[in-house]
Amino acid sequence: MLGTINRSFILPVKGEKQMPKADSEYLWNELQPGCVITEPGTSRVYYTGDWRAFYPVLQKERCIQCGICWIFCPDMAYQKDEKGYFIADLNYCKGCGICARECPADAIHMEKEKEI
């Protein structure tokens, strides 16, 4: 009834930002004075998606494109695609399930991640 699981909407990660080195790779003289982080938003290269036990599945035929999933996502995972659907970026989605619970059209449900 809910359709097949479609994971093809995992968005590719934008390639413009390089992964900063892990903290354990820094030499002392490579640090900026005061350990200032000079680039904004460097955490976007850190994927929190692997924390997830469940992932959201969107049924586009039910979706009313209201953006509730997007505005209530604590992980900024939802992004609007060119057709106006809000799609979860599974690189970041931690699987909290807020989107599924809050969706006014019941268009999202959570599915269990497969054991790897």
């Binding site: 982080i37 955490s43 970041y92 807020i98």
Partner: protein
């Protein structure tokens, strides 16, 4: 009430100022609140953060989730640091050392960094009249250190340092009224807000930022792990807090009270308390006792707002 925000939320900015990849727990209501607050503040802001959950999850070197300039110094001094930033912008613009465009200054802290250890610095900054916005992300306990009680923990809540035992029912004191304390400083704008009501929150934060002088916004930040609720229930419990009168959404503008999300008939408080792990032990008579006080406070708030309406009508 569930669909109240449907369709309109799309009018909110699509720009994000908190980057994904932060380390907040799944379903964190505090990071959700912070995301919505920063959305409302936009690009031209400098943020001073207290030590706490939001500081930790957004700044493990070298991963910063901040798309706007941000500084963390210590636990109790976010308001003082923000005061310094504000003073610097003021004098540097006056002296022509930097260009004169409007830059908002925001301080942020949890309930501990606001109502407990940060209260003195906050009071000082409010009293001195710095042109800044202080945001309290209230998750009602010291969650970052593992759920210990704060003065903002509600009566009856079980935490690691206000535990339930044979001789104790959990937190024995009533939640500190930070809005009243902040309001007593005579500052021009104060509001409560909840990320479960993004439009209301955005309007208030934008208004607070534009206020000349100090503004205070107290945001209820649901903490699934600390409160003992499922991670998908964050937004729901934020809503229930409002609908039961436990956390009313209102603002105080130049001393005038206004309830921004009206609740015609309060839902039974039990609906909010009972499903939460931290209140699970509460017996019906205790819930009734809490409910009486919540309703009395709700009536008092309504009375203040009504009084305001009457005055305005008379004028």
């Amino acid at each position: 009430m569930r669909n109240i925000n449907a369709y309109v939320v799309k009018t909110l900015s699509s720009r994000e100022y908190i980057a994904p990849g932060h380390r907040a727990c799944a379903g964190c209501g505090e990071v959700l609140a912070m995301r919505q607050v920063q959305k409302a503040l936009g690009r031209n802001v400098i943020v001073a953060s207290a030590t706490g959950c939001m500081e930790i999850v957004s700044s493990p070197f070298p991963f910063s989730s901040w798309e706007v300039p941000w500084i963390h110094v210590a636990f109790e001094n976010a308001a003082a640091v923000a005061g310094g930033i504000e003073a610097a912008l003021k004098v540097l613009q006056r002296k022509g050392k930097i260009e004169g465009k409007k830059i908002f200054v925001a301080a942020m802290a949890g309930d501990g960094g606001t109502a407990d250890i940060g209260l003195q610095a906050l009071s000082g900054a409010l009293e001195r009249g710095h042109n800044f916005l202080f945001i309290c992300y209230d998750n009602e306990a010291y969650m970052n250190t593992g759920v210990q009680r704060s003065s903002s923990t509600p009566f009856g809540a079980s935490t690691m340092t206000s535990p339930v035992g044979s001789a104790q029912i959990g937190q024995l004191t009533w939640k500190k009224n930070m809005m009243a304390i902040a309001a007593a400083h005579g500052i021009p704008y104060l509001a409560t807000a909840s990320p479960s009501y993004p439009m209301d929150l955005s309007e208030k934060v934008a208004k607070a930022a534009k206020t000349e002088g100090p503004a205070y916004v107290h945001v209820l930040s649901v903490c699934p792990s600390g409160w003992g609720i499922p991670s998908d229930a964050t937004v729901k419990f934020g809503r229930l807090a409002v609908e039961t009168g436990f956390f009313p959404l209102y603002e105080i503008e130049e001393g005038k009270y206004r309830i921004t999300v009206d609740v015609e008939e309060l839902l039974p408080l039990e609906m909010y308390l009972k499903p939460q792990g931290r209140f699970r032990h509460l017996k019906p008579e205790l819930i009734e006792q809490i409910s009486r006080r919540v309703r009395a406070e709700w009536r008092e708030l309504n009375r203040k707002a009504e009084e305001q309406k009457e005055i305005e009508e008379r004028e």
